[in-house]
Subunit: 307 residues, 4 copies
């Protein structure tokens, strides 16, 4: 036979599960989008269509919902670990499970202000509003022996309105760009960070605290870096995480340079003193890099931050 | 000629303008998406292609950027009023201007925590992160005499995890729905509210404060209403605004009922005690209504909340 | 009570129904997205939450699927008429039904070429590939007496690479645009046309043939008009439809001017003889107008073409 | 220093270039979206912000437009090869260039029918309508020595309305799915295929013909495979390409199983004889696999088909 099967995987993608936990009148919410991808002894289903080794994708969906009840959702990472372990250990033909999860954040609607008290409302503990623009992400991979956890976020839009320059670059026949000594630097962060936890024997990180701290370090590095290039800012964001979060060995970012062009107001007899900008959509610069703890291996794929 | 021209308008849509105001080291940001639509003596450009009465859409774009410098952007509403007045009063063939604006909110990146102080960072006053999911909206219409201002928001996602029921409805041959006495109520609010300010002689509302207060009343009414139907919740949200905000005479909402279905876990020997839900995309219920101050005229078009 | 209820409607939106009709081995497909909006005696559900007059949106969804079986789907328009009539005539509190339908086109996968015959494949009559970019649309409104049918399409992208000019326009202080005597004219057509069929006594149009012919007239008018402005092209597109299709009395278009800017290649020592263009996203000109059969009333709302 | 730089790349993404070629009155169009990613000696720009080795992303954008003039656009692949070679050979610090291109297809608007002849229109040769739903893709990678060309497409939606079954699968505690012996099989194809052309000494494939033939083989394999699982169909699609197109050594697909669920019409006293389906959005099965020419190495990354 002249053709052979290479890497393959299957599962149910984008299972939207919402878990409400009631602590008396106070409700808590976890809102996830869970995608399952399983690999193993799957040659026959490709070659002959025999499903004898195939756990249906519908079953992987059911498992997501059942596990939300059986294990609860302490964190996206912990939930993914339960799922991955289950598929690999319970089904002999399945040798590897990869669980990808998006998490949507909610915050409480404040109802205890003077105004609502006037109308006699009690404090409401079951009302929520979707929070923030970014989506929290995690990817759990398990092969029956080792774990790989890569968490991160996407769609976090940030801007520095000053403290950014760009000059001293290569000029060739096609270069027309003017050097800039005070520009807006804006980007929509897509970042992933890989944990060094890989073994059931190791102590598991506190996934929730790790996320909050990592996000904060990243934002502060963005804000506090006087930038001569977006590459420099990116590196600082990654290095700050590596330096402050010992549970993380590798970080990768894809940072689109969301260009804000100073509008030429001279034709109208006006001076634009870094005040009025045109926010462009396309094209955009795209800066991508991995930052590693020295001595660690790079394992985050190049395009993971573009998914 | 058997065909005639009816209502028509033209202009440049989606002008993305970002205005930075520097107050010493502290920067302020306004981030708008401005769309201009002009009407007037425009028969000839349609019939013969003569552009003698046509101010180019490119010029309307330039005007947006120039006005950001000349007038600043105090609020989206105030900025739209400057633009609409300009087009109608400066161009004889233009009889009516409609300015639609989307506004994107930003908040400061906090850099003054203990951690950043330890590394010696000063407080940063020019770094921002995009805030919230909703987009603030306004539409200014001016005919040279009267103003109409309709503001609002879209994509504000809210959820009550309890205090919602649905029963006692009509049942016909095609009804299979089971009555619910404790369900999740979630929606993605698209709302518009019309101000009674219509004349340069009247005192103009404080647009920024009005928006903040209106949004808060709306959220609190959502949270505090024990709901027997999404229609009831919608009405309460509108009535709360009318009752508390004297500058607003009319409110319209389009509220998609973002269904969260309780997952049947019985096949797995599990009981789902209002804990695990499937968040469905389509189809969704869509509830739309106008709420008016008694005696006022309805002027918000039916589909404005669906744009 | 200081607040009152204005226009309101409700129903299930975006019911995705696919109907397969088997004619022996040959299958036919209709692929629709159906949205139902009902109005009538609905004050109580808003004021008190009483659902006594409310047919659940879940029932309106079931009705869509049941009617696909009971009536088949001869055309989107005919299907919408069945649904609208049913809701208004079978439920006393419902006085008006509006059915909006999107239709997705499919074409057969060709399998009868020499290549597939060589490998012994029979002709396959049940395999389809989604066709075209545009979405066909219709909106049926029924009040128990009169019908209004507005059909159309959206997302049909067209381009003339020449035969378009733009000059002779108004110039004010903010005008910098250079006149153009040979430019690309490109747009993404959103069009709606209203039929004069309004009564069960009248002969119903052939909806399928009407759509095909109307689309073709519109495309040909776009291609054959030497354009001095997009407004002129728009008017010709509408007038062509009115002139050739007697079943249609009113047409409305929203035509974004998808700008293709000639790239300045002079800095690189190259001449750009109308060859290389930058296709811009935003901002875009937006040209909107209604064209009417003389003597007919305009009834298509201004923003229907922006939904 | 505890952190080091790993894989990194940069460039301008999503340069939208439209090239018109005039052959007398007959125009031809190429419509591309070009993304450039460059790698090489880029440590310093990350560590210190020195741009001494950095060709600005703005220059890479300019190069795309200039090359459209200098070389024309014979095919997306050929255009990408020109660009990649230029960046690697003209800039010493750049060691590797990756060019990703999306191509949008257009077809001519037919104007030569009887109807348009009646109104005296000549045949129009410069009017186009965007064709099809799928986007053609290519990725060119060059390291100064070897070439890698991976082409493909995304968003091609196909359906078989019969000749698909799914049964004989594994059943565990969470399995509730019923076996199906006649179901709809629908998917939105994302496919990539790698050419064995890798060296300037080799004869280059005919890129345009290769794409047309590969797409056709893929569609026919989809249509002609009696399917016991989507994996089997996927494998047949890939194997057909490998067997018929000697220039291709590796194929990868990501095929979402776009579920069409048979609607239960029994509550309404109706029988659903494989006629009425609900087209679901999420979740969906996701089937991914690589098919290789025997003896060839797998080089298409796992997630390339998910970009």
């Amino acid at each position: 036979m002249p053709t052979i099967l290479g890497q393959n995987q299957y599962g149910k993608a984008e299972n939207r599960v919402v878990k409400i936990t009631r602590d008396g009148a106070t409700h808590h919410i976890k809102d996830l989008n869970v995608s399952v991808a399983l690999s193993g002894d799957m040659d026959e289903v490709h070659y002959s269509g025999s499903n004898a080794n195939v756990l249906p994708t519908d079953t992987t969906k059911n498992t997501v919902y059942a596990f939300a009840k059986e294990y609860g959702i302490e964190s996206a990472e912990q939930f993914g670990i339960h799922l991955a372990r289950h598929f690999v250990t319970s089904q002999e033909p399945i040798h590897r499970a990869r669980i990808r999860i998006e998490e949507y954040a909610w915050e409480r609607i404040e109802t205890s202000d003077a105004n609502s008290r006037l109308i006699g409302a009690d404090e409401v503990k079951h009302s929520f509003v979707r929070k923030g623009q970014e989506t929290r992400l995690t990817q759990i991979t398990y092969d029956g022996d080792k774990w790989e956890v890569v968490s991160g976020l996407k769609d976090l839009v940030v801007m520095n309105s000053t403290n950014s320059e760009f000059w001293g670059y290569v000029k060739d026949r096609y270069t027309t760009l003017k050097e800039a000594h005070d520009r807006i630097l804006a980007t929509q962060v897509s970042g992933r960070w890989r944990f060094n936890w890989s073994d059931d024997e190791q102590k598991m990180p506190n996934w929730e605290k790790s996320y909050e701290q990592t996000r904060q370090h990243m934002l502060q590095a963005f804000a506090e870096t006087y930038s001569l290039s977006l590459q420099q800012t990116l590196y600082q964001m990654g290095a700050r995480i590596i330096n402050y979060r010992s549970e993380i060995d590798e970080v990768r970012f894809a940072l689109p340079n969301k260009h804000h062009f100073l509008v030429d107001l001279e034709p109208f007899g006006l001076k634009n003193d870094n005040e009025v900008y045109f926010a462009a959509d396309r094209p955009y610069g795209l800066i991508e890099a991995t930052i590693l703890r020295d001595g660690c291996e790079a394992r985050i794929p190049v395009d993971l931050t573009n998914l």
